[in-house]
Symmetry: D2
Subunit: 134 residues, 4 copies
């Protein structure tokens, strides 16, 4: 059991709207995706073919920002807040766009391949949590 | 003309999808709303009737987080990113919820009254920008 | 009187460690600097001579991140927290580095000139607040 | 090997100032600590003895904000930026304060016990990375 899961289970609210396991998985996927997207932007900035990666860098930075905000909001989600579903939708849109963009450079740049995977994982985790919120 | 507007006008992209004035107004409203919501959460934590303000603090913190992420994404919006519209929707949901919650304490707490106003201003600015994006 | 100043004055803590005017000025300078640095990074990404601006983009992004965190922490600073001084020092280091880097491109790129100015203003505001904290 | 480590190793910069393993460990500790501190603040808001936990909530929120900014900056640290060391110092100050405050409630609240541990782990990881930067 991860530290985050233990933490969510120690919350005094008791049984909450969101399934703690899905919540923890989504929160951790968002945090990982934020770091990976930021690292991909920085790696792109170090490539020789930088000019081809401008859209990728922008998409990475937006995705990192939205994933980080989603992770922060989810980590305070004792009970589902009124903007949680809308934020999950925004996070999914950012992850889908970044996965698609990074996938185009995946055969050239290992960091883009890893980033596309992290984005798909995060998109998936957001979708599962969103469905569970009903 | 604000520093932000000057900054957006100096961008090499030239005419962009978003109207620079609406973009600057929305960005500034988001930044202000983030600060005001964080300050309201902290002020609520200093009130004697703290127990009545728990939902208000949570709503403030979520709204601050989402507004700050929206400001950051908008400040990089040379051309409208694929998640911008969804993020504006999330920001509007957070602002609407926070405005409603803070309004209930507005006659008791000046900080809640100011915060409700800032949230409504931000909601409005997001809506105008969203409409202009078409 | 700005919305932020009104907000800080409505805090139940009454007279606080930090001078509310210096606190509000610093908070607003940090928020503005974060937006300007993010916008400068995005503008640099749109320039033809992108290869010459890689260090500038990285410095912009770091400065934006640290300024945004400083603004958020300051907006909750009813009483000065134990990490506030250290965070102000980090913010000053980021602003000094970004001002220096952007200044080198100021004659070529208006966005770098505006950004260097915003960084110096923020550095200044942090320094004044830090001195007042004693 | 974690996703973050793989990501940092795929960076085109090749051997970098910071040891990739220490960098990844610190980045992951900061991300975890940010989530745990946010979750602890929210859990404290749900406790009956809320009045005793006001300082804890404030310290949690500051620590979460500074840890999240540190994680973001470190994830872009191909080469050590000029503000990295100062930011690590701020992060260590925030973690030390939060560990101390949460420890005082550790026997009463499991979430405070877990949070104090996460803060000490993060403090440690920052210190090791800082030493390695020389």
């Amino acid at each position: 059991m991860s530290v985050i899961t233990k933490m969510l289970e120690s919350h005094p609210a008791g049984p909450r709207a969101a399934d703690p396991r899905l919540l923890a998985e989504c929160l951790e996927a968002c945090g990982e995706c934020a770091s990976v997207c930021n690292a991909c932007a920085d790696a792109c900035l170090g490539e020789d073919m930088l000019g081809d990666l401008v859209t990728c860098i922008r998409t990475n930075l937006d995705c990192a920002q939205i994933c980080a905000a989603t992770a922060a909001v989810l980590s305070r989600t004792a009970t589902t807040g009124p903007a949680t579903a809308a934020l999950l939708h925004a996070c999914m849109a950012a992850c889908a766009a970044c996965a698609e963009e990074c996938q185009q450079h995946a055969s050239m740049h290992e960091h883009c391949r890893i980033c596309a995977e992290a984005c798909r994982r995060c998109l998936n985790a957001c979708e599962k949590l969103l469905v569970s919120l009903g």
